[in-house]
C-alpha cells in the first residue's frame, strides 16, 4: 500500500486505515490460499517529513514494514512518485496495491497502473478477498452513486485500487507493534515537476475529513451569503463546513468544501445537511456518517431517507434557533 503524510509532515489517518485494511486482506488471503503475506507501506516523503518513530507506528495498524523514499518536494512530483512506485512494485511483486483516493493517490496510482500495465479501480468503498479464487473484490459507487459496482482484476498483477478515506474505520492500535523501516535501493529517477509554493488553507483548520462534525449547505441556501449562517453553526459546534456540488460549482464556496463523489468523502460523527436535496453522488460521499441530520423545506427531499433526524422547514429559521440553543446550553453549563 501507498501511504501519505499530511502537509504538517504527520502520517495521515488514511494511511492507518489502509494499513489495517491491507492487514485484514492479507490475513484473508492466507486463510484462503495459504502461504505467508507481508504488508508493506510505501511512503514517499519530503526530506523533513515524518520522523522514524512515527513511521514505525504504522506497524500498530498491521504493516510489517515501511518502505521509505525521501526527496525534496517528492510527494508533489506525481510522475516521479509513480515511476518509483512502479519500480518498487516490479521488484517486490505484491498481489495487491492500495492507496488513498486523495489528490496524491488519484494521480500517482493511475500513472503507476499504466506503467505496470494493470487495472486500477477508483474510489473503492469495499474491498474483500473472494473465497476460492483469492481475488480482490473491489466495490465502488458508479453512475453517480446510483449503483455499487464490484470489479475484479483477474489476470493482471498487482490488483490495484484507490480507497476513499474514512471508508474503513481505523481499528485500535496493536500495542507494541512496530514496522521495520526499509530504505529501498533505487536507480535515479528524474524530477518531472518543480513545486514553486504550497499554501495551506487556514492553518488552524485541518482537512474536512478530520472533522468530528460537519455542517454542509446546498442550493436551498438560495444565495452565497447563506454560508455565513452555515459557518456560524459550524463554529458553534467546532465543526467543518461542507457543500454540495451545485453550490461549489457556482463558486459560492471553495472546492475543498465539496462533499460527495466528485468532492471529498467524509464520515464525521455528526453530519448536518442544510438545504441539500440529497443526490446519489452527495449521499455516496457522506452516507457513512455517524448521525445524519437534515434540514430542508421540501418534505419529499431524498436526503430525508438517508437521515436520522429530518427537520422540515426553512433553514433560515431553524439554524439561528439551533445556534441560540447551543450557545444557551453553553452559558448554562458554566
Amino acid at each position: 500500500m501507498l501511504g501519505e503524510v499530511k502537509c504538517s509532515g504527520a502520517v495521515s489517518e488514511a494511511t492507518r486505515e489502509l494499513s489495517a485494511k491491507a492487514r485484514s486482506l492479507a490475513d484473508a488471503l492466507v486463510a484462503s490460499t495459504g502461504g505467508r503475506r507481508r504488508v508493506s507501506a510505501i511512503m514517499m516523503l519530503d526530506d523533513a517529513a515524518a520522523p522514524e518513530a512515527e513511521l514505525e507506528q504504522i506497524g500498530q495498524y498491521g504493516a510489517d514494514e515501511v518502505m521509505v523514499v525521501r526527496g525534496a518536494g517528492l510527494p508533489f512530483d506525481r510522475a516521479k512518485c509513480a515511476k518509483i512506485l512502479a519500480l518498487l512494485t516490479k521488484k517486490n511483486r505484491p498481489q495487491i496495491l492500495l492507496a488513498p483516493a486523495t489528490a496524491f493517490g488519484r494521480s500517482v496510482m493511475p500513472y503507476a497502473a499504466a506503467l505496470l500495465e494493470t487495472g486500477l479501480t477508483a474510489d473503492c468503498t469495499g474491498l474483500e478477498i473472494e473465497e476460492g479464487t483469492g481475488l480482490l473484490l473491489q466495490t465502488r459507487p458508479a453512475i453517480g452513486g446510483n449503483v455499487m459496482a464490484t470489479i475484479k482484476t483477474p489476470n493482471h498483477r498487482p490488483q490495484m485500487a484507490t480507497v476513499r478515506p474514512r471508508t474503513f474505520r481505523t481499528p485500535a492500535p496493536i500495542p507494541g507493534g512496530a514496522a521495520k523501516i526499509v530504505e529501498p535501493e533505487l536507480p535515479d529517477v528524474e524530477d518531472s515537476a518543480a513545486a514553486s509554493s504550497f499554501e495551506p488553507f487556514k492553518a488552524a483548520r485541518g482537512a474536512l475529513q478530520d472533522d468530528d462534525a460537519i455542517v454542509s449547505g446546498g442550493k436551498g441556501l438560495r444565495r452565497p451569503e447563506g454560508f455565513d449562517l452555515i459557518s456560524r453553526l459550524a463554529d458553534a459546534i467546532g465543526g467543518g463546513v461542507g457543500a454540495s456540488r451545485p453550490v461549489a460549482e457556482m463558486r459560492w464556496i471553495g472546492y475543498q468544501h465539496q462533499v460527495g463523489l466528485s468532492g471529498q468523502t467524509v464520515s464525521p460523527k455528526v453530519y448536518i445537511a442544510a438545504g441539500i436535496s440529497g443526490s446519489a453522488q452527495h449521499l455516496a460521499g457522506m452516507g457513512t456518517s455517524g448521525k445524519i441530520i437534515s434540514i430542508n423545506r421540501d418534505p419529499e427531499a431524498p436526503i430525508f431517507n438517508a437521515s436520522d433526524v429530518a427537520l422540515c422547514g426553512d433553514l433560515y429559521e431553524i439554524i439561528p434557533l439551533l445556534i441560540e440553543r447551543i450557545e444557551r446550553g453553553r452559558t448554562g453549563s458554566r
Binding site: C7, A79, A82, A103, R106, S107, V108, P110, A112, A113, A114, G119, A122, D123, P141, A142, I143, G144, G145, N146, V147, A149, T150, I151, T153, P154, S192, A193, A194, A195, S197, F198, E199, F201, Q209, A213, I237, Q256, S262, K269, V270, I272, S279, Q281, G290, K291, I292, I293, N305, A306, V309, A310, L311, C312, G313, D314, E317, L321, I326, G329
Partner: protein, 263 residues
C-alpha cells in the same frame, strides 16, 4: 505551443435512471453532451493559446460522439478527431487510455494535453494520468490555474489541505477542475465555422491497434456485480411549522450533538 484536449461524450443528465431488474443504466432517450470538465479543458487552452498555436480535440467513442466534437469546433478548436470502432467498446480506463495515447501519437504529439479531471459518468479521474504515463510525460491533476512559462507551464492545483503551485516542462498533461475558468457561450460565428470543418475519424486499424488489443478484451478489470446501494435510514421527522415539533426537533439535535461529545 500546440494543444490537444481529451474529450468524452457523456449522458446529458445527472439523474441517470436505472433498470433495477438488470442493474444497468437506461441509455434509451438519453442524449450525449461534452463532459462539462472537458469544456473547461478546451477553454483553458483557448485562453493561453497564442498566434500560430493549434488546438485539437480528441475523443474515443461511438459515431454519435461526432456531435460533441463539432461543439468543440464551434468553441474554437481547430481540429477534431474521433476514434471509433466496435473493437473499442467496453474498455476500462487502461484500454481507453491506450487508444487515446495512440491517437496522440498518430495525430502528432502536442506540447500540452489538457483533459477534464473526471467524466460525469465514470467518475474515475484515471484516464488523464494513465495517458501521461503511456507517453512518459509529467502530469498535474486538480488544476485550477494554468499559465505559460518559458519551456513549460505553471499550474495551480487545489489539494485537500492547500493550494500547490508547480512548474512542469512541456510536453506534459494536466487535468482541470471546473474552477479553472468560466465557460464561454457558443457563438453563431463559431457554429458556422464548425460546419465548415471536418471531424476526422480513425479506426483501430488506422491506429495500428490489433485484434484483442482494445476495448473489453484488453481491459485488465472486469465488472462482476452491480447492486443498488441501500443507504436508507429511518428519520425521525419534525415539521418546523408546528412550534411543538420544532422544539422537539431542536431538542433531538442537541441530544445527538451531546451524545457524540460534540457539545
Amino acid at each position: 505551443m500546440n494543444f490537444a484536449i481529451l474529450m468524452k461524450q457523456v449522458p446529458d443528465t445527472d439523474e441517470v435512471k436505472m433498470d433495477l431488474e438488470r442493474g444497468v443504466m437506461i441509455r434509451n432517450g438519453v442524449g450525449g453532451v461534452v463532459n462539462p470538465l472537458d469544456l473547461n479543458a478546451l477553454e483553458a487552452a483557448m485562453r493561453i493559446r497564442e498566434e500560430g498555436d493549434s488546438v485539437s480535440v480528441l475523443s474515443m467513442g461511438p459515431p454519435k460522439a461526432e456531435e460533441s466534437l463539432r461543439e468543440c469546433l464551434a468553441l474554437g478548436a481547430d481540429r477534431a478527431v474521433l476514434a471509433t470502432d466496435a473493437a473499442f467498446a467496453g474498455g476500462d480506463t487502461w484500454a481507453t487510455s491506450k487508444v487515446l495515447a495512440a491517437m496522440l501519437e498518430h495525430t502528432g504529439l502536442p506540447d500540452l494535453v489538457i483533459a477534464g479531471e473526471k467524466a460525469t459518468d465514470g467518475e474515475t479521474g484515471q484516464v488523464g494520468p494513465e495517458v501521461a504515463a503511456m507517453l512518459g510525460w509529467p502530469v498535474a491533476t486538480h488544476v485550477t490555474g494554468l499559465k505559460r512559462t518559458p519551456g513549460g507551464v505553471e499550474v495551480v492545483c487545489a489539494l485537500e489541505e492547500g493550494i500547490l503551485t508547480q512548474r512542469l516542462g512541456t510536453p506534459c498533461l494536466v487535468t482541470v477542475l471546473s474552477f479553472v475558468n468560466d465557460l464561454p457561450l457558443p457563438t453563431l460565428s463559431g457554429k458556422k465555422r464548425a460546419h465548415s470543418l471536418e471531424v476526422e475519424t480513425l479506426s483501430a486499424r488506422d491506429l495500428g491497434i490489433g485484434d484483442g488489443a482494445a476495448g473489453l478484451a484488453a481491459s485488465p478489470t472486469r465488472v462482476t456485480r452491480i447492486e443498488t446501494p441501500k443507504i436508507a435510514r429511518r428519520a425521525e421527522k419534525f415539521m418546523a411549522k408546528r412550534a411543538d415539533e420544532l422544539e422537539a426537533g431542536l431538542d433531538r439535535v442537541i441530544e445527538i450533538l451531546a451524545g457524540a461529545a460534540i457539545l
